[in-house]
Symmetry: C2
Subunit: 161 residues, 2 copies
């Protein structure tokens, strides 16, 4: 099963390495990971997407909680959360295809952030499915480069994670 973990950690050197090794020691492949500072600069928040056995994940969560740099671990259910990801896609574009790419961009409420002679770069945010759908549509023109942030999530409503 797929899980999204929100892990609040102290913003110190080595924390990421310790957290990542907890997963890798169990052969858990991290699907995506996003780390950034929070409203408190001394605290970072990691959003980790993994899929695997629930019991093993429970073990990992327990061990995460034991790490001195870890402040809090929450498993965010996707039903009750706002989930977003950001992707930058550089797509091959010439005079003929440019109009169609702009059209697709508008339909997806995405944004064109760079134009060069033979390419355009599109910024798109959304859940995984939206980004995949956009990627699929742009593939016909030729995708030169693609970079994704990995998912971040916040619980809906008042509940604080």
């Amino acid at each position: 099963m797929k899980h999204t973990l929100a892990v609040l950690v102290e913003n110190r050197a080595g924390v990421l390495s310790r957290v990542a090794s907890l997963f890798s020691r169990r052969g858990y492949n991290i699907d995506s990971l996003a780390v950034g500072v929070t409203e408190d600069p001394s605290v970072s928040r990691m959003t980790i997407v993994v899929h695997g056995d629930d019991n093993v994940l429970e073990q990992v969560t327990k061990q995460l909680n034991k790490l001195i740099d870890v402040i809090k671990v929450s498993d965010i259910g996707s039903d009750d959360a706002v989930e977003r990801e950001l992707a930058l896609i550089k797509v091959a574009a010439d005079v003929n295809s440019r109009a169609e790419i702009i059209q697709i961009t508008n339909i997806f409420r995405a944004r064109i952030v760079d134009v060069a002679q033979k390419s355009m770069t599109v910024e798109v945010t959304g859940d995984e499915e939206k980004i995949l759908a956009m990627e699929k549509l742009l593939r016909q023109f030729g995708i030169k480069e693609l970079v994704r942030t990995g998912k971040i999530a916040l619980s809906r409503g008042p509940k604080k994670v």
Copy 2:
């Protein structure tokens, strides 16, 4: 000095842990990290923002290149790159403050992605400065939660990273 590294890696368990430990062993604190799959599902792209001594970073880069799972490492200069980050900000909101929050959201070309009785969640993309500016403006209402993806970057124009 601040550096943004784009690291293409094989999408396998343990890669992240090996990459992260290369940095932490030298006391290098990673400012932000984003990992997601690329157009090729067997390949992930890590965008790592670090600041520190240039010589040490050169050493780290060399050692990254030696890792068997690492396909390519590039240092993306910020002058010549499109840099973006995504943040979700849950801000306290009541009937009185809602209109003002919507106004700020529009000015920043951000989007409201969830509304609850006492809060609103805003999605904003941009460079670091834009996100900080938005955060600063929303702080007056009370920020309940904030999560950031970390920066991703693509070189401008035709050059392939």
